[in-house]
């Protein structure tokens, strides 16, 4: 953020000197606005993941789906964004975008703030704060007007840190009727990771993130592949508190402390000493401390006449820690008739739970009491890793109505099956505008 603030400051200072700007290239201001409302109907049955004793989020997960309650609320989709692009010279421009979101209590944040330099006709370099190009729709995730859903599939668009501070290069290569683009970027960021599915927020520290995006466009077909890697840390994860963890101290620190305590106990006796290592390992595995995360994505989009087909798949592989191997995909089909678009989408989450509890060896051979303790600890750790994964699917049907230029009305119904959190239905309506 420091770098971007400096650039923004320099840019503003330059703007104060009129001879730096061309008469033809005025400052351009654009904006987007989404106003939305929605409510959920939450399944009450015993199979619902939210009712299982493993759930870490207690009462809150029984009452919300993707942060929607059974009452009508208006803040979850509401977003206002304003963007200013100021040309400094023929090749250099400054872009700043401020965004305020209902779901983040309308805090105003600088989503983008970067300097852009056209090194050549085909190569653009950027430095500052920009959106991380994880997915097909990453670039315009908040501009509801740009896509047909109320929001791109929630299970898919799950990586929470959207913007990064760094540098990137975008190189365009027209090859006959094909348009190929390569984007390479590097950066780091500290961000409050908001997981909408599970309704919590946690500080995430990303360092040394690099990624490569390759896109090919041919008339109605777009293909995309990207790969990214970084070091991630959750420095405040130890403080995370849940009622479900009360038996072991209430917080992640408490759970880790209890594991270490048992480890020490086992260590003090030469017979049980070999078992202690697993307890220390499990305690360490609860924390995310500079773990390497690898992420890969494949996407396809067909926009042919009145038919739209989009599909995307992604994999997130952490090298350790409590976060699951995240595997998601979706397919969406839409048909446009006059100003109406009808669409159907299927999304699936097939995460693999982190297996850090496997080194908590069963101690019932040593004593009944210790056996109960090792069981309790295994359950507690599994509860933590279970809270950081999702398996389930969503079917969404919706209509988009372009009632006037620059504005669209959307109605959407989703049937959500979630094995870890609440399942049920979601109804949403939004109006999306660009100006």
């Amino acid at each position: 953020m420091k770098i971007s603030t400096t650039i923004a400051g320099v840019g503003l200072a330059l703007l104060a000197y009129p001879h730096f700007t061309h008469a033809n290239d005025d400052i351009k201001v654009n904006g987007f606005l989404t106003i939305g409302a929605g409510f959920a109907l939450i399944d009450d049955d015993e199979d619902s993941g939210a009712n299982s004793s493993d759930s870490l989020y207690g009462s809150s997960s029984n009452e919300t789906i993707r942060s929607y309650e059974e009452n009508l609320t208006f803040h979850q989709e509401t977003i206002l964004g304003m963007q200013v692009v100021a040309p400094i010279s023929e090749k250099l421009s400054l872009t700043g975008q401020l965004v305020t979101r209902g779901i983040q209590d309308y805090n105003v944040e600088a989503a983008w703030a970067y300097a852009s330099y056209e090194a050549s006709e085909n190569l653009t370099l950027r430095m500052g704060r920009f959106r991380i190009p994880f997915y097909l729709y990453s670039d315009y995730l908040e501009v509801g007007y740009a896509y047909h859903w109320v929001s791109p599939p929630n299970e898919m668009y799950v990586l929470p840190f959207e913007s990064i501070d760094g540098i990137d290069a975008v190189y365009n290569m027209p090859i006959g009727p094909f348009d190929a683009t390569i984007q390479a970027y590097a950066g780091s960021v500290n961000d409050d990771f908001t997981n909408v599915d599970k309704d919590f927020s946690i500080l995430t520290v990303i360092r040394n993130q690099v990624g490569l995006v390759f896109t090919v466009e041919y008339d109605w077909l777009t293909l995309r592949a990207s790969a990214h890697t970084n070091n991630s840390s959750y420095p405040e994860f130890g403080d995370f508190y849940s009622e479900a963890l009360e038996p072991v101290g209430g917080t992640i620190d408490g759970l880790a402390g209890t594991l270490i305590g048992i480890g020490d106990q086992l260590d003090s006796n030469p017979i049980s000493q070999p078992l202690s290592e697993g307890y220390y390992t499990a305690a360490q595995g609860l924390y995310l401390n500079e773990e390497r995360f690898n992420f890969a994505e494949l996407g396809m989009r067909i926009d042919w006449n009145n038919i739209l087909l989009v599909a995307e798949a992604s994999e997130l592989n952490p090298s350790g820690g409590p976060v699951a191997d995240v595997s998601r995909w979706f397919a969406s089909a839409g048909y446009t008739f006059n100003d109406f678009m009808f669409h159907l989408t299927y999304t699936e989450a097939r995460d693999t739970q982190s297996d850090i509890s496997k080194t908590i060896y069963d101690l019932s051979d040593l004593s009944q009491e210790l056996g109960q303790t090792s069981n309790l600890l295994t359950q507690a750790v599994d509860g933590v890793t279970r809270s950081l994964m999702t398996t389930g699917n969503t079917i969404t049907a919706g209509i988009r109505y372009d009632f006037t230029a620059g504005a669209a009305l959307k109605l959407e119904y989703s049937e959500i099956e979630d094995d870890q959190e609440a399942s049920g239905s979601l109804f949403r309506i939004t109006v999306d505008m660009v100006f």
């Binding site: 692009v85 670039d139 501009v143 007007y145």
Partner: protein, 144 residues
């Protein structure tokens, strides 16, 4: 009675034919450039790329594309024939690029006369106008 019927029949058929003809055909569009431009001709495929922001030059010559009012007939015809998109699709396309800072749509002018004036003033400008509006002050690169 018979005469009235005949007249109304003729009138209706004339109206019908004119309507039909106007649906089938479109006003001839001319792509124009500044007289001093090094360009002499161009292709629809290249114009499409320039107007979608995918290229900023034609045969090595830097160009600045100019649009007409997006709700007007000229823009509608141009979008349909050259870009193969409806006006709504064009706006959707640009909304994806604007907010990533990856491009800005061409500046809009109200009518043929304004486009001609703008092209006259900028040696890099290119625009599209009704072929009937072409005069000697600008150069024509393509007609379709």
């Amino acid at each position: 009675m018979t005469i009235l019927l005949k007249k109304s029949l003729v009138l209706t058929s004339v109206l019908f034919v004119t309507l039909f003809a106007s649906i089938l055909s479109h006003a001839e569009i001319a792509i124009i450039a500044n007289k001093s431009s090094k360009l002499t001709t161009t292709k629809i495929a290249d114009i499409e790329r320039v107007y979608l922001g995918k290229r900023k030059s034609l045969t090595g010559v830097s160009v600045t594309p100019l649009n007409q009012d997006k709700v007007g007939e000229m823009a509608k015809s141009f979008n349909k024939i050259v870009l193969n998109k409806t006006s709504k699709q064009v706006q959707s396309y640009w909304s994806k690029l604007i907010f990533t800072g990856k491009g800005t749509p061409p500046e809009e002018f109200l009518n043929d006369a304004e486009v001609i004036n703008a092209v006259k003033e900028d040696p890099n400008a290119i625009g599209y106008i009704d072929a009937k509006s072409v005069d000697g002050s600008i150069k024509v690169l393509l007609k379709f």
